[in-house]
């Protein structure tokens, strides 16, 4: 707790002294009369000034919340002695804001406590520490100022929200575990695939009696098994385009969370690679716990400026399992990420790129040369897309305010007609 004197505690005695000395020098009682109230006020103020013991408490009604929703913060302040004016401020990190009274001004009676409810609006996803409370107490005449800072930080995780999906992009190949996806191979399953002549060892219950009766020899049904798949979400965190509170990284994180949730609901195994200045990864796994792991990992996703050249060699091998679908979310702004994605395709990974378009965050410029540079930059981006397409990689531009579903559908349509190229 820091105690300090208000500026007027220096000024008022000075005014009193000047007035009294001037009154004595000029022999005028009016000047003494003018100065005396200041002296009396300071004497009363200093005599009555007390130093209260300030305490603060903070309670958040939730530790986790979804972006756009509210968390209620209850700030309770108390003092051992009366405080005429207590100003408080709950320091909020960028990404959280409140419409409530912050800073607030209250009066506390002796031993009294006041509780204020501040609705915190979670504007942006992220992992926050909320709870730095600053208090400033003043006595009735405003001569003494007491300042205290309380570190009551509590974790608040704001999960990305906003994107919803109903259908997913299916990998070209499935894994061996059972899941919700109809595999291309033929084996025991429910989904009908084809008919073939009976061979020794076939189960009788697989015999197709109608085909057998028509052909005179036994025929059996073949089916596709239901398998799961491995999906790796590749998040490019080398660079982003940002304007104000919105940026390509925000859109990528929201899309990644939505994709991970739906893939895990479909019993697939999902992993994540956050490839940028700092490398983060989670190996593929399934189940609701993995969803929490992925979302927690996404909360740490940040753009770290780095000039270190990185390629796929830095990614642990088991992070990218064979036959996994790699779904990349990238603004295609950094050559290292662009090169790494091409490298992934070269290594035979089933790759699809959702290009989180930086165009909504970039102005073409005002001068002719700026507009020309903008057009050249757009052409360069188109050339990058063509390069990927020539490798058989679908690249779909996803802009802000366009549903993710539409972008996924575009990738699916591309893959339906595209030919797999082994680069």
């Amino acid at each position: 707790m820091k105690r300090s004197a208000a500026p007027k505690l220096r000024v008022y005695p000075a005014l009193a002294a000047i007035g009294m000395l001037a009154g004595l020098a000029l022999g005028r009682p009016e000047l003494v009369a003018l100065a005396a109230p200041f002296a009396v006020l300071v004497a009363i103020g200093v005599s009555l000034a007390q130093e209260p013991e300030l305490t603060a408490r903070l309670v958040l009604d939730a530790e986790r919340q979804v972006e756009g929703e509210e968390v209620l913060a209850e700030v309770e302040v108390s003092a051992s002695r009366p405080v005429e004016r207590l100003t408080g401020l709950l320091v909020l990190p960028a990404g959280l804001r409140t419409e409530g009274p912050n800073p607030f001004l209250v009066r506390l009676a002796s031993g009294g406590r006041r509780s204020l409810e501040l609705p915190l609006e979670c504007e942006r996803w992220g992992a926050y520490g909320v709870g730095r409370v600053l208090l400033r107490a003043q006595d009735a005449l405003g001569f003494l100022v007491l300042e205290a800072s309380f570190d009551l930080r509590q974790p608040l995780k704001v999960y990305p929200g906003g994107e919803s999906l109903s259908s997913l992009l299916r990998p070209l190949e499935t894994q061996v575990f059972s899941g919700n996806q109809v595999a291309r191979v033929r084996a025991d399953g429910i989904e009908f695939a084809d008919l073939r002549p009976f061979v020794a060892g076939d189960r009788v219950r697989r015999v197709n009696w109608r085909a057998t009766a028509r052909r005179g020899v036994p025929w059996v049904n073949e089916s596709h098994p239901e398998r799961n798949s491995d999906v790796v979400i590749f998040l490019d965190t080398f660079a982003e385009a940002r304007r104000g509170a919105a940026g390509t990284l925000d859109a990528s994180v929201r899309a990644a969370a939505a994709l991970a949730e739906l893939y895990l609901r479909e019993k697939d195994r999902v992993g994540i690679v956050s490839f940028g200045g700092v490398l983060n990864w989670l190996t593929v796994s399934s189940g609701p716990v993995q969803l929490y792991r992925i979302v927690d990992s996404l909360l740490d996703a940040e753009i770290w400026l780095s000039y270190v050249w990185k390629d796929l060699e830095v990614i642990p091998t088991r992070t990218l399992p064979p036959r996994a679908l790699v779904l990349a979310l990238s603004p295609l702004l950094d050559d290292r990420a662009i090169g790494a994605l091409a490298d992934l395709r070269s290594r035979g990974f089933d790759l699809a790129i959702l290009e989180v378009s930086p165009l909504p965050y970039v102005e073409p410029g005002e001068t002719e040369s700026e507009r020309l540079a903008f057009r050249v930059w757009q052409l360069r981006r188109e050339a990058i897309r063509s390069r990927y397409r020539s490798l058989g990689v679908p690249v779909v531009e996803w802009r802000d305010h366009v549903p993710l579903e539409a972008a996924i559908e575009e990738v699916r349509r591309y893959r339906r007609h595209a030919r797999t190229v082994r680069a």
Partner: protein, 165 residues
Amino acid sequence: MTGAAALVTAAALGGYPPLEGTLRPYSLALAGFALAFLAAGLAGRWSGAVATGLTLLGAQYALLFSAGPGAVDDRTPFYAAGFLLSAELSFWSTEPRVAAWSDLEVVLRRLGTVLGACLGAAAIAAIVIIVSGASLGDSLVAEAAGIGSAAAALALLGALVRRLR
């Protein structure tokens, strides 16, 4: 709002000596400087400028009596109340401001305290004026006692302030 009220009060106080006394141009110039310092202090939340403005305002009032011995100004209690009001409102304005007055009671209590202090200032000034009018003889002892008590009061005040700081 408190800043504007402080400036208006100071302007009203600054208008009083030129109406009453001699040396009108000097008085007006001092009032102008006082208001300029006060306005600058309020705009920049700089207590040093506020203090200078208040000192200049007091000096302008002292100019009233520069002509020599005369009758006691019976409006001094009102001037003292206004002077304290201007000072209080000015320092209120230079404090770190809370954006939202979340508790109206606090503001009303503070306004009440300021107005009470002003009434008290008027009463103290009136007492000083009345006491100064009482005939205690024109001796050197009385003069010395007056100077001594003023010095003692200032020393006591200084000690109290030091204790708090």
